[in-house]
Amino acid sequence: MVKTSVTLSGLTLDNPVIPASGTFGYGYEFAELYDINILGSFSFKGTTQQPRFGNPTPRIAECTGGLINSVGLQNPGIEKVIAEELPRMAKCFHKPVIANISGFSVEEYVHNCALIDTQPQVGIIEVNVSCPNVHHGGMAFGTDPACAAEVTRAVKAVCKKPVYIKLSPNVTDIVSIAKACEEAGADGISLINTLMGMRIDLKTKRPVVANKMGGFSGSAIFPVALRMVYQVYEAVKIPIMGIGGVSSADDVIEMMLAGATAVQVGAANLVEPFACKKIIEDLPRAMEQYGIQSLSDIIGGAHQ
C-alpha cells in the first residue's frame, strides 16, 4: 500500500494534487462531475479587493501544447468571496482550501489577506505576485526581490495562516526572488505562474487576444516550471508547490523529485475536466511502477 499524503506547513493533504487558481473556479463546475473531496486541496480563483470583470474578450488563444489566457483576475471581490463563495464552496469541499489573493498595492494585499486569514475554511493563503494580465499590480510585485519581500513581510504581519508567495517565471533570476520571500517570512513558495506569450491571427494580422499578450500555460511549459522548482529548491528551505504544465501522475512525481512538496494542476483541468481525478487515481500505479512507497520521501529526490 503506497502512501500519497504530504504535509505543507503543518497541513496534511491526502495527496499532493491541487487544482491551480483560475482553472477551477470555486470548484462548483467540477463538483458536478466528481467528488472533489478526493483532491489534496484546491486553490480558488484569484481574489482582489474590488470586483473585477477582467480584460476584454477574446481572452483565449490556442498554442501548441497549451493556451494563452488574458482573463485579468475576473472575480467578485473579497467581500463577496467571503460572504457568498466560501459558504457555497463549503457545501462541496470539506477540506481546507487555498485562498489565492491578488492586489494592486501592498495595502490591498494586506487588506485582502487579513480578511481571508479569519476564514476557518482557508488552510493556506497563496499570494499572487505574478499575474501577467493586469497593469500596475500583480506581476509588478513579483519581478523584483525587494518588492516581493515587501509584500511578503506586510502580509505575514497580518496573517496567522501559512502564506505562500506565487512567483512569476517572467524574471531573470527566480531564485533571488524566492530567497527574498523566504527571508521576509514566507511559509512557502508556489511556482510558476504563466509565461508571458502572444499569438497573432494570420487572417486579421492582429493579436488574437484583445489584451494583445497573455499568460501561456499547458503541458508545453512543464520543463520550464520543473527547472525553476529545481533551482528554487536548492536555494530555499521552505516548501514549494510546483505548478506548470502538470497533466499526469508521472508529471506529479517528476515535479516532486525536482523539489515540490505539493503539485498544482492548471490548464489540464480546462481541456480534461477529470484531469485531477485521473491523476489521483493513477498515482498509486505510477508510484509502484517507479518503486516509490511514500510520496513525501521523494521530495527533492533528484538533488541527491
Binding site: 473556479g25 463546475e29 470583470f53 481541456v271
Partner: protein, 245 residues
C-alpha cells in the same frame, strides 16, 4: 450536467465549400435543450473545439460545423468509424416555454445549425415556427430542404441576392406573418439587427473564444444587464432584455 464520453463517427459529409455534417453515435443523455453545444477533443490540439448541436436523439448526435481554422480543418479529415472524446450537455440552450405560438427562428451562416433541433422541439410542442435563414451567397446555403421537410415555413436570404431575398435575415421578417417571439443565432451584427427589428422578446445565442467550455476559466465572460455571464455556462443563449449591445 456535463458529460464526457466517446462518440463514433457514423457519417461525415461535406455540405458546402466550408460546412460539414458530422453524425456520431454515442451517449447523448446530457443534452437537455436545443442550442446547447459540445466540446470536441482533437488529436494534436490543446483546446477542445466547441460546436453547436444541430440535432440529436437517444443514440445519435448531428453536428454541422464550418471549417474556420486548423482545428476544424483537421476535424474535417476524420473518417467514418473514428472515435472522438466529446463533452456534451454544455451551455444553457434555448428555453421554448416563452415562445408563444409563432416564434421566428433566425439563423445566419454558421448560426443556422442549432435552429434545426429547435424547430423540431417547437413543432413537437404544437407551435408553428417560422424559419428565416441568411447566407452570403447561394453556394453557401445548406439544410434548406431539411428545414422544409420538417413542415415549417422557411424563408431564405442571400447577401448577394443569388438566391431568395437579397439582403439579410432581418429583411425576411416583413415577409412572415404575425410572430410571437424570436430565437436567433449568427454573427453579432445580425443578432443586434434582429433585436432592433422585432417587436417582441427573444433569445440570442452568442459565440466567444472559449477555454474550457464548462464555466471554469472565465475565458468567455461578457457583461449583461443582469451581471457578468460566462458564454459557455450561463449562455450561449441570452435573453433580449439582458443583452448590452
Amino acid at each position: 450536467m456535463v458529460k464526457q464520453s466517446l462518440f463514433t463517427i457514423l457519417s461525415h459529409t461535406r455540405l458546402t465549400d466550408s460546412m460539414y455534417r458530422l453524425v456520431l453515435s454515442g451517449d447523448t443523455s446530457a443534452i437537455t435543450a436545443p442550442g446547447q453545444f459540445v466540446n470536441i477533443k482533437l488529436d494534436g490540439f490543446f483546446l477542445r473545439r466547441p460546436i453547436s448541436v444541430c440535432d440529436y436523439d437517444e443514440t445519435t448526435l448531428t453536428l454541422l460545423y464550418k471549417t474556420v481554422g486548423k482545428g476544424t480543418r483537421f476535424l474535417s479529415t476524420l473518417k467514418e468509424g473514428e472515435v472522438l472524446d466529446i463533452l456534451t450537455g454544455l451551455g444553457n440552450g434555448y428555453d421554448t416555454a416563452k415562445s408563444g405560438d409563432r416564434p421566428l427562428l433566425c439563423g445566419g451562416g454558421a448560426g443556422v445549425p442549432p435552429m434545426y433541433h429547435l424547430a423540431k422541439v417547437l413543432l413537437a410542442e404544437g407551435k408553428k415556427p417560422q424559419v428565416l435563414l441568411g447566407f452570403n451567397t447561394k453556394d453557401e446555403i445548406f439544410y434548406k430542404e431539411e428545414f422544409r421537410a420538417l413542415g415549417t415555413d422557411v424563408y431564405l436570404a442571400t447577401a448577394d441576392g443569388s438566391y431568395g431575398t437579397k439582403g439579410f435575415v432581418t429583411d425576411l421578417i416583413s415577409l412572415t406573418g404575425d410572430y410571437t417571439y424570436a430565437f436567433a443565432c449568427g454573427p453579432i451584427p445580425m443578432l443586434k439587427a434582429i433585436s432592433d427589428a422585432i417587436h417582441c422578446s427573444g433569445q440570442f445565442s452568442f459565440e466567444e473564444r472559449m477555454g474550457c467550455g464548462f464555466g471554469a476559466c472565465m475565458g468567455c465572460s461578457c457583461q449583461t444587464k443582469y451581471g457578468n455571464k460566462r458564454i459557455c455556462k450561463d449562455g450561449p443563449v441570452l435573453q433580449k432584455e439582458e443583452i448590452i449591445w
